[in-house]
Every structure is written in C-alpha cells, then in structure tokens.
C-alpha cells in the first residue's frame, strides 16, 4: 500500500490546483489509507467502550465501596475490604467449589458424548441431515424452558424421574435438597443443551480431515478404534481445545440453570443449604437479594480474575508442552 501511495498520480480534480493543494491532497490520501481501517473499527469499539469497558471499570470502582442499591448515590470508600471479606467468606469458597464440581460434572461427559456423537454422525447415514438437525435442537431451546422442564422432571413427589426410579424399585430421591443429586440434576440440564452443539463443531472438524489419511491408516492395518484415536482425535485437536475453552467459560458463569432449578428464594441461594450455589448465584444474591452492590461487584471482579488466571495457566502449560516437544 505504501508504495502505491507514493507513485499514484494525483487525483484528477486537483489537477488545476497549486502545489499546496497537491500536498494537502497527498496528506488526505495518506490519512485515508492509514486511517480508514481505524475509522471502520470505531463503531465496534464505541459500543464496546459504552457497554463493556465502562461497566467493567465502574464495577471495579463500586467494588471498592460499601453501597446499597436503595442508596446508590451514597458510596462509602472501603478500599479492598470487600475483597478480603469475600476471600474469608465461607460462602465464596463453597460457591467456588460448587462451580468447579458442577462444571466438571457437566463439561466432561458433555464433551465425551459430543465426540462419540460426532463420530457416529460422520459415518454415511441415511437421513444424516435429520440427525444433525435433531442434535442441534436442544441448543435452540431457551435456558428457561429447558430448566423449567427438567425441574418438573426432578420434582420430589410427582416428578417423572422419581416415578421411574420407583417403578424399578428404588426409593425416591429428594433431588433438590441433596447436594450431589442437585448438582447432577443441574449438570444434566447443561449436558442436554450443549452436547449437540459441540458434536456439530466436532463433526465439521472431522469432515475437514483428508480421507487419504484414513485410507493410509487402513492399509497399515489400523482398526476403527485406532483410526479414531490416532487420526481423528489429532485431526480435530484445535477444535477440542476451542470447545474446552468455551465450556470452561460457560461453566464459570453458570447461573440460569441453578436459579430456575431452585425456584424462588432457594434458586437465589442455591438451595436451602447453598448446596448448589454457584459464583453467578452468589453474585446475584449479594446484588439483587441483599442489594449490597459493592459486594456483588467484588464477586464479579473475582470471577473475572479467576478466568484470567485459568487462561494464563493454560497458556503457560501449552507453551511449556510445546517447548518440551520441540
């Protein structure tokens, strides 16, 4: 581009103007070429500044104060007290642990099942489009609808799951009040909604693997299973990493499913015993139940920093691994 700028003839309209106008035109021209890209990205960054960056900074500012929603105009400076309080608060560690366990319960089976599903869909199938669309349907369902239906299925006295358990001779389970039962129930909502979506991502990646690799493997005598492990998986590794990153972000922010699963006050506190309160719910409880905006902002920032820490660790790990292999 730079070479073009210097060698291009001056615009026709400026032909009759003096050398000063010529220079001005050249300047404008350079500004055009250099500046236009920035001008084009400005709208996005303006929106980003107004709706992401400013709230982010303002949230940080609030988190250093003692503020009540009823009196947002009265802010008392408390420096990092909210942070030290939060880190010594049992509820925070409980919520963090719940977020991790529900995250593991939902992400690991979800991605494994998605991988298997994608592998099956990758075979030549009659009506493959139907199966692919069917796999994506849960993803198109709203969180609210899905969570509400699952809540009814898991209901203690008249829920279908307890009815089925009773029919095969098991006692009924109080899904909401038992810690692990509740966490599994919530994970099942997440798994149901996201498995198909991840499966389609894997499927797209699998179809990009050249056929001749499988043929070569087959000629070398590799079984289907060996082909899957040695050809398919390495072939879609970047996609796997991508889905892990996405699922981790999703799991950290898990909120709607447990909120609706618990219903009412129990949804906000994540069960009477906080047995499935995630960090997202803790934020909501502090902010929109207790109306302590300062503490809610603190939870938000701690969640943000946790995500950053996780990704820095992940980058360090992958750099260390690639350094070791090369």
């Amino acid at each position: 581009m730079a070479s073009h700028t210097s060698s291009a003839p001056p615009p026709a309209a400026d032909k009759n103007a003096g050398p000063g106008a010529d220079r001005r035109a050249g300047l404008l021209h350079r500004l055009d070429v250099r500046g236009a890209p920035y001008a084009f990205v400005v709208p996005f960054f303006a929106v980003f500044a107004a709706f992401s960056f400013y709230p982010l900074v303002y949230t940080a500012w609030i988190s250093l104060h003692d503020v009540d929603l009823a009196t947002m105009d009265i802010m008392e400076w408390v420096a990092f007290d909210n942070y030290t309080d939060l880190l010594t608060d049992e509820r925070f560690w409980n919520a963090l642990l719940n977020t991790v366990t529900i995250g593991v319960f939902s992400t690991v089976p979800q991605l494994l099942m998605a991988l298997g599903l994608a592998h099956l869909l990758n075979y030549r199938l009659r009506g493959s489009t139907f199966f692919r669309v069917a796999a994506l349907t849960p993803y198109a369902t709203s969180v609210g609808a899905a969570a509400l239906v699952f809540t009814m299925l898991f209901e203690r006295d008249f829920g279908m799951i307890n009815w089925a358990l009773g029919a095969v001779g098991f006692g009924e389970i109080d899904w909401e009040n038992h810690k692990w039962a509740a966490q599994l129930a919530i994970s099942s909502i997440v798994i149901w909604r996201w498995t198909g979506y991840n499966a389609l991502l894997y499927l797209a990646a699998m179809q990009a693997i050249p056929r001749d690799r499988f043929e070569a493997a087959a000629i070398d005598g590799a079984s289907r299973w060996q082909q899957f492990l040695k050809v398919t998986i390495p072939g879609i590794r970047p996609t796997i990493v991508f889905t892990i990153v996405l699922s981790t972000i999703g799991a950290t922010q898990l909120f709607g499913e447990p909120l609706i699963f618990g219903q009412g006050p129990n949804g906000i506190s994540g069960g009477a015993d906080n047995q499935y309160q995630t960090l997202g719910l803790l934020l909501y409880e502090e902010g929109w139940k207790f109306y302590h905006m300062g503490r809610a902002a603190t939870v938000a920032w701690v969640m943000f920093m946790l995500l950053i820490i996780v990704f820095v660790l992940q980058r360090l790990l992958s750099r260390w691994r690639s350094a070791r292999t090369s």
């Binding site: 291009a8 615009p11 026709a12 309209a13 021209h29 055009d32 070429v33 500046g35 236009a36 001008a39 084009f40 400005v42 709208p43 960054f45 303006a46 929106v47 500044a49 107004a50 009540d68 929603l69 009823a70 009196t71 947002m72 105009d73 608060d89 509820r91 809540t151 009814m152 209901e155 203690r156 006295d157 008249f158 109080d174 909401e176 009040n177 219903q263 009412g264 006050p265 129990n266 506190s269 009477a272 015993d273 929109w288 139940k289 207790f290 109306y291």
Partner: protein, 436 residues
C-alpha cells in the same frame, strides 16, 4: 480514476462510521426525567407503577374512575414479579428518574423506603377521606416525623385452610367452629392437633401441614414486633415472638408433621392438586391460589377455620411521588382507589382483603361466602383476624429477606436433617450477611 472513486467511497464510509460511533456514545447521555404524567389540552394523564395482582386494574375500578372523570387518563404499568418491580423502583428512586406519578409499595419494602426515600414521596397524612383504615395498617407507612408515604390497599389476614375429608378420616371434628375450637388461642394447640392427626390418619401419605415455614410466618405476623424494634435495631434473637415461633415451627419440622414443601414453589401446586397435606395456614389472598391449583375435583373438600391468633401476612400501599406534575390529581385518585367501597369491590371480585376498617362491615364483605371452601363465611373469618391484630406493627428494612432466611432454615431441619440449633445458627450467620 477508478481508484480515486473507490478511495472517495471508503472515505465517505469511514466518516459515516465515525459519526455513527459518536452518535452511539452521545445517545446514552439523553435525559428522561419525567413521570409521564401531566396536563395537556384539558386532559390529565396519571401514570401508575404496580406489581402482581393488586386488584386495582383487574377489578375494573380504574376504568370506572376514568368514566366518572372523563378528563383523566390513567396509564397503569404492572410488573408481574414484585422482586423485579422493587429492584427497578430502587434504581429509579436513586436516579430520581423513571418514576411514575403513583407507585405501589409492598409491605416488606415499606420500612426501607420510609428510611431511605421518604423525601421522594408526598406526605399523605392530611389526605382527606383516608381516616377509615385499620389502625395498624397506616402505622406501617408512617415515619417518625409523622409523614405518611402511602395509603393502604389490601392486607392479608390469616386463617387455617383444612381438608375436611382428611380430618374426618383422622377422627377429628370437621365443622369449622369445632375445628377452630381445637386450637383456639394458641398455635401450640395447632401443632398438638397435628400430632393427633398423624397418629389417627391411616389413609396413606398425607402430611398435616404443607410447610413449617407457614406456621412460623403465621406466628410472627400477629405480634407488634418481629425482627426489628422501633429504633431499627435487630432484636430477633431475644424477641420471644421469634424464638417462640422458631421453637414451635422447628419442633413441627423435626417431628414430620409437614409435607416438606415450599409455598408457591415447585411441588406445592401438585401437592394441592393431589392432596398431600391436610392443612395450610392461608392468608385471604391465598384462597384463590388454592382453589385454582387444587382444582374443581377438590371443591367442597376444603374449609376455612379461624386461626389460633389474628395475624396478617402481606399487603400493599399506594404512594404519590413528590416529582409528579399532577400531585393533586394523583392524591385524589389514590384516596378514591383505597376508599372502603372500592376495597370491598376488589375483595368481592378477586379476594384481596380490605385494609379499611369501614370496608369490613360492608355487605360485600360480611356476606361473602366461598363456595369452593364448603361455603365458609370468609368475609367474617378474615375480618375477625384483621380486627384481632395489635394496634401498631413495627416493620424493618430487611423483613422480607429475613423471613426467607428463616423459611430456608426450617427447610434445613425438614429436608437436610440439620438440628434446630444448627439451623438457628445458620440463620443468624445469614442474617448478619444480609443486613451487614
């Protein structure tokens, strides 16, 4: 030449995008301070912010007011959920923008608004035609300086709803007078009857009550002090009302008298439909919910008996905003909407119980019988409960939140096998977090 035109085009597009960006940024700075109300061309517009089913719009009295006053246009904005409504109201109060001319106030929020935002409300203490309320009702929205920030709409006097068929099978009386006599004067007797019910009932899985939290609420809402004292200090730990209610409710929770349900949450509605419990402490406004969810097949099986002690759970107010350009008209409107005749009509059509003492003697109320509840004279039963309340009731800013915390603590005993002491301690810790 071609290149030039292309460059001109990108230049134009770049300018457009920068302008758009600036426009986006400045658009957020606009002001919207009004209430939406005002007078124009001889017509007065009054805006209202309401929540839930307050009955003002639903019963048709708003339309009637507009018919009587052709120059008045009322725009009522109703939020379904009170929690959502109040959150928005608080942000509007803070910004002093986005408020309506008239705002609904739920009883659980009354004290907080009185403490923090009384200056946003018009003083209604001298509003003509508002001296007909039950004495305790207006005391709930009166500040220390005598300022009144609202006028009462409905209230929630309590009774006990019970299943006659289950009582009969358990060998207990079924007549509502006789049933009320079983526990007259003391909630402890209500729990004793529960033990008799449990021993006597042989028909399968039916619990005595729906939730021990209902019992707890019923016991505390009949006294003049609950979680806070008059100076705004938390006194729940030493208030015999609270400790007494806790002891009895936790005993009921631990002895398996309840169906371990949570009122208004998953499981409670199917519990009503399938009849998994024999009694429920029911404020007047709950009857409509019970008859709807228990369904026509249970019509005539339910009945209503007087509660051991008078108490009121819930209720609302209407306040006028200081910012409103049509204050006088709005004041006239709220006085009319909460007048005895209108309250009686709302009760007749929707079941929201009047907070006006005069309305309690209106024929619509006195003669009101519920067919679904075996023809119980609910007007008289609830009126008696409302009259039985103490003259003054002290509210606190976080009453609603603390009530929820106690409900959850009782559920820890019922469903998670915690001891009463552990649950009490947990409740205390949570209250510290909630108010601190």
């Amino acid at each position: 030449m071609k290149k030039t035109r292309k460059l001109m085009r990108t230049r134009g597009a770049a300018v457009v995008s920068v302008v758009t960006a600036l426009g986006l940024l400045t658009a957020c700075g606009g002001e919207s301070g009004g209430t939406g109300g005002g007078t124009k061309d001889g017509k007065t517009t009054i805006t209202m912010g309401l929540f839930g089913v307050m009955g003002i719009k639903e019963s048709g009295i708003l339309d009637e007011y507009q018919k009587q006053h052709p120059n008045v246009i009322i725009k009522a904005d109703i939020a379904g959920d009170e929690q959502t409504y109040y959150t928005a109201l608080q942000t509007h109060m803070t910004a002093n923008s986005g408020l309506k001319d008239i705002q609904g106030i739920e009883i659980g929020r009354a004290k907080e608004l009185l403490d923090t935002r009384a200056d946003r409300f018009v003083d209604l203490s001298k509003l003509p035609g508002t001296d007909h309320f039950l004495p305790w009702k207006q005391s709930q929205v009166t500040g220390k300086d005598g300022k009144v920030i609202g006028v009462g709409t409905d209230t929630g006097p309590l009774a006990v709803c019970y299943r006659k068929d289950y009582f009969e099978q358990a060998g207990l009386p079924t007549d509502r007078e006789a049933v009320a006599e079983l526990w007259a004067g003391d909630w402890k007797k209500y729990v004793e009857v529960g033990k008799q019910f449990k021993a006597g009932y042989k028909g399968g899985k039916v619990a005595y009550m729906d939730a021990s939290s209902g019992l707890f609420n019923a016991m505390i809402y009949g006294d003049s002090q609950q979680f806070y004292d008059k100076s705004g200090e938390l006194i729940y730990q030493d208030n015999p009302t609270i400790t007494g209610a806790w002891d009895l409710a936790s005993e009921a929770a631990a002895s398996g008298l309840s169906a371990k349900l949570r009122q208004f949450q998953a499981g409670w509605d199917p519990g009503l439909a399938n009849g998994t419990f024999a009694t429920a402490v029911c404020p007047a406004w709950m009857l409509a919910h019970i008859s709807e969810k228990a369904g026509p097949k249970n019509s005539g099986k339910w009945d209503v008996a007087k509660a051991p002690k008078g108490a009121s759970w819930g209720g609302s107010f209407l306040g006028v905003m200081e910012k409103s350009p049509v204050k006088e008209e709005a004041k006239k409107l709220v006085a009319w909407l909460t007048a005895p005749e209108q309250q009686a009509r709302i009760f007749e059509s929707l079941g929201n119980f009047p907070s006006s003492q005069e309305a309690l003697t209106a024929p619509e109320v006195v003669n009101m019988k519920s067919e679904y509840f075996s023809g119980a004279p609910i007007g008289q039963i609830f009126a008696a409960a409302a009259e039985d309340m103490p003259k003054e009731q002290v509210l606190g800013p976080k009453d609603g939140t603390i009530k929820d915390i106690f409900s959850q603590a009782l559920s820890l005993i019922e469903s998670s096998g915690k001891s009463a002491d552990e649950a009490w301690q947990t409740a205390g810790e949570r209250i510290d977090k909630a108010v601190g």
